[in-house]
Amino acid sequence: MAHDELKNQIRRLRFEHGEMTQQQLADKVSVTRQTIIAIEAGKYAPSLPLAFRIAHAFDVGIEEVFQYDNNFRASGD
């Protein structure tokens, strides 16, 4: 299921944090690497607790990691 309305900055944040690998991030937030891959690619929308854990892993706010595309909603209505 594609979640085009939910954008994320995980890839950029990983590289800004010492080129953190997907596996390292996955270990930090207690998920599999495949889940990180799916989230990065916008194919899976994480739960709210997982989204918070990812944000905490980068020491940033959740809104800096995930952005909701308002235009998607407007065109969908």
Partner: protein, 148 residues
């Protein structure tokens, strides 16, 4: 062992493991005319199926890296959807089995009670296949790109 690997095993190993003993038992039952054979067949199939489902847990017990995350919220969601798809398929199979039997033998016909355990075995195999296929399709769709 990842959930995707489990789905593959379920599909390509699970089906022969379930089907071969069942087919052998059916052959023996009809060849020897043993009245208790369907019960033994059903029991054997359940044992084989149970061993198959225990495989991931046994593998994890002997795994060196027990702390490694192999099942998370996305796997849980995929598993839930796969089970739901399996139950839908099982219901359709059950309805079809009833309706087709009625159509074949007619409203006043009768069938052997041996058909009952065979129907259950068929349902078990179908459930396993649909669950594995649904899991595999979802994993494939969710991890096509972005890997690095």
């Amino acid at each position: 062992m990842t959930q995707k690997e489990e789905a593959w095993i379920g599909l390509f190993l699970g089906v022969p493991i379930l089907v071969i003993p069942s087919a052998v038992a059916v052959f023996i039952a009809y060849d020897k005319g043993l009245s208790f054979a369907p019960v033994l067949m059903f029991t054997g199939t359940v044992i084989w199926g149970g061993l198959l489902w225990l495989l991931p847990y046994i593998q994890r017990q002997f795994s060196k890296d027990k702390k490694k995350i192999i099942f998370d919220e996305r796997d849980r969601l995929i598993h839930k959807r796969a089970v739901m798809a399996s139950y839908v398929a099982l219901w359709i199979y059950f309805v079809a089995a009833c309706v087709i039997t009625w159509c074949i033998v007619g409203p006043n016909g009768s069938i052997s009670v041996n058909v009952m355990p065979l129907t259950l075995v068929g349902g078990l195999v179908l459930f396993n296949c649909v669950q594995s296929l649904a899991s595999f399709i979802q994993y494939r769709r969710g991890a096509e790109d972005g890997a690095r």
